[in-house]
Symmetry: C2
Subunit: 457 residues, 2 copies
Amino acid sequence: MEQNIPYKIYLEEQEMPKQWYNVRADMKKKPAPILDPETLKPVTLEELSGIFCTELAKQELDDTTPYFDIPEEIQNFYKMYRPSPLVRAYCLEKKLDTPAHIYYKFEGNNTSGSHKLNSAIAQAYYAKQQGLKGVTTETGAGQWGTALSMACAYLDLDCQVYMVKCSYEQKPFRREVMRTYGAKVTPSPSMNTKIGQKINEQFPGTTGSLGCAISEAVEAAVTQYGYRYVLGSVLSQVLLHQSVIGLEAKTALDKYGIKADTIIGCAGGGSNLGGLISPFAGEILRGEANYDIIAVEPSSCPSLTRGVYAYDFCDTGKVCPLAKMYTLGSGFIPSANHAGGLRYHGMSSVVSELYDQGILTARSAEQTAVFQAAQIFAKVEGILPAPESSHAIKVAMDEAIKCKETGEAKNIVFGLTGTGYFDMVAYQKFNDGQMSDYVPTDEELAKALGELPKVEV
Amino acid sequence: MEQNIPYKIYLEEQEMPKQWYNVRADMKKKPAPILDPETLKPVTLEELSGIFCTELAKQELDDTTPYFDIPEEIQNFYKMYRPSPLVRAYCLEKKLDTPAHIYYKFEGNNTSGSHKLNSAIAQAYYAKQQGLKGVTTETGAGQWGTALSMACAYLDLDCQVYMVKCSYEQKPFRREVMRTYGAKVTPSPSMNTKIGQKINEQFPGTTGSLGCAISEAVEAAVTQYGYRYVLGSVLSQVLLHQSVIGLEAKTALDKYGIKADTIIGCAGGGSNLGGLISPFAGEILRGEANYDIIAVEPSSCPSLTRGVYAYDFCDTGKVCPLAKMYTLGSGFIPSANHAGGLRYHGMSSVVSELYDQGILTARSAEQTAVFQAAQIFAKVEGILPAPESSHAIKVAMDEAIKCKETGEAKNIVFGLTGTGYFDMVAYQKFNDGQMSDYVPTDEELAKALGELPKVEV
């Protein structure tokens, strides 16, 4: 054990990033533009500003500016829960008896329980700056809704969350955290919106879906004066804000003279992975360094490993813009996998393009194996991880075990996006031996992929 | 806002305490000795070693050694989740528009969600050192059980938790966290023990009580070979281990040249309060400094503010030793107050003696006001606090508001013992406006106090 590397590396406040990094600026081939769902033409700033705040719409479309200043008020908010620690997993290394050095960037030390707060405060801030009354959003697992509620409470901004009805009922604790922060939480489909009314009529007693909740949140944003819609993943602006994860991690590694060999993140919509890897991917793109970057997705929702790279709708309701991304088809309904945050049919267009260019590789992991890794990690490192984050743990452990075989002392860095305190129903299934794995068949995948929109750009 | 004091003060690893501080050593008048429940004579080391590990029994009885070395393995475990941050509550100060400077020592950044882990790892460590197979304990709210499960998982020690049956059923998430860490969690009263069988016979369908769970855990410890009983609060050994809270806080304050004026902690059994204030109380006892120390308890269970200072049983079942403490009587059943960790009928004998000597004062707070303070705190400081911890928040806010009136720029330091993620049922009541306050009548208090054991020492 090197005595000079502490268990936890905390940056000093003055070492925290003052700018977000936009990896698109360093990509020679840029991610394809997002398209208007009606005209199938690239969305203009004006069009996008009807849904998002103007400043965020600008960030969404800007693929050339490498750095964006982080406004001081956001920097101050970050100081309440950041810098997040870069942890040397000494105990996990010992448990695995590996020569590898394992580090994880832990984003779970805030009440939202995940990295989502990094973008929530930025999106709420720009809404406030624009003089808006409030924002609307949807939430499934609840991490994003919680993060947005916290950010809005801090800025005294109205927050309307459409929560998938089955989550609203099955995750009452998540709901109550949001309510405590003053958010208005509505089970979706509701009778507040036309689309909600229509769905309730068509499917009486439905417990909702994320696609439906998105549609309701977007409708609520465009029909109320002074509201905009916000989204916690997939978007390029979200990856921009999440770059604080990677920037802090890189500063911490540099401070101790550690060169990462392997960088691992779980991937759903791509917000955490994209944020963690951005500065490292930038170095690869500029020819300054090389890293083995691995995205880990659930076998039940394998957009990178088994999807296609094509234009698709970002939402099941087909009201949002289209993006070119690795996708399983917007009609793909993943099985009831408990890693709620990784159940998205597509992948951030930035991460997709980096994957297509070979900057990163991808692997999928099955749920039971992921929970086994989570349990080992919890016992030796003391943190009960979120199921989503545990996908990264699983592959980090696999890589560390490989090092034991080869004798290599690689530096493995992975993103521990959050805690599993609100995921105990899934852990209970695991503890009771009732967890099942599910891998979609080729036929199932072909069906949803057969319904991709026909787009020529 | 002083730019030189960061939002969060994290000590360097090498600044962490290497010894626990035993405040009893600096007390001229010592806490009264604990008594054997049968003979009513001071308990000997030999007797106590039948229930507790020998090393812990020694710590329990030692009121002269000022410092105990923290074994290296415990120091390493501490490094996984400590040092805990001393946070400057800039946002709360702004919200209250107070000239006071508010600081809080946040102990919630670990999976047990509270400070309990500080003593759990110490107690598990000495059990392991003694070659024991495992430990038994009881848990009500579940923080202690979780902490002990984590410590035992780390040391590969068997952990048997008797969980009050109503909590076992109403807090399934807490139960599952413990199970994920490998603990055997049994709803109490169970059929595993004689006392459990007896209670189940006498009161069919009972949902249990903490007193009953203690009795079962003690019986399980003394009837299984290689087991000992452990307890998460009240005991002097627990306060010794928890002194890391105060020692870290003091080092952090000293590092930035901050002299605390007021120190506030919530008080149930006294483990957090005692740990936080120990080094400061030591300075007062040695005549080196002065502080205004305030213990905050719930109005529904006011042992310091309305109890008497007398010998009493530490448990409802009357199987544990007696201690001289501020007590409401071991037969006192507090109302269904959601601040589960503060529902103990008595108070640590060390804290009681310090209170009796005037080293600290005490106040009580009503539940609704406590949750109102909790909500304000959550919104501006971003951390959803445990109901227990929120008692300290309430009085810290009261003191800061007083400073606004007097214009004093006092340094107020309080202990934020943990997070409220597993307390959302209580927050829901608050959000729904269905929270009630309860203050026992003088008659109710007189009844339980009338049943105090007659002890003359």
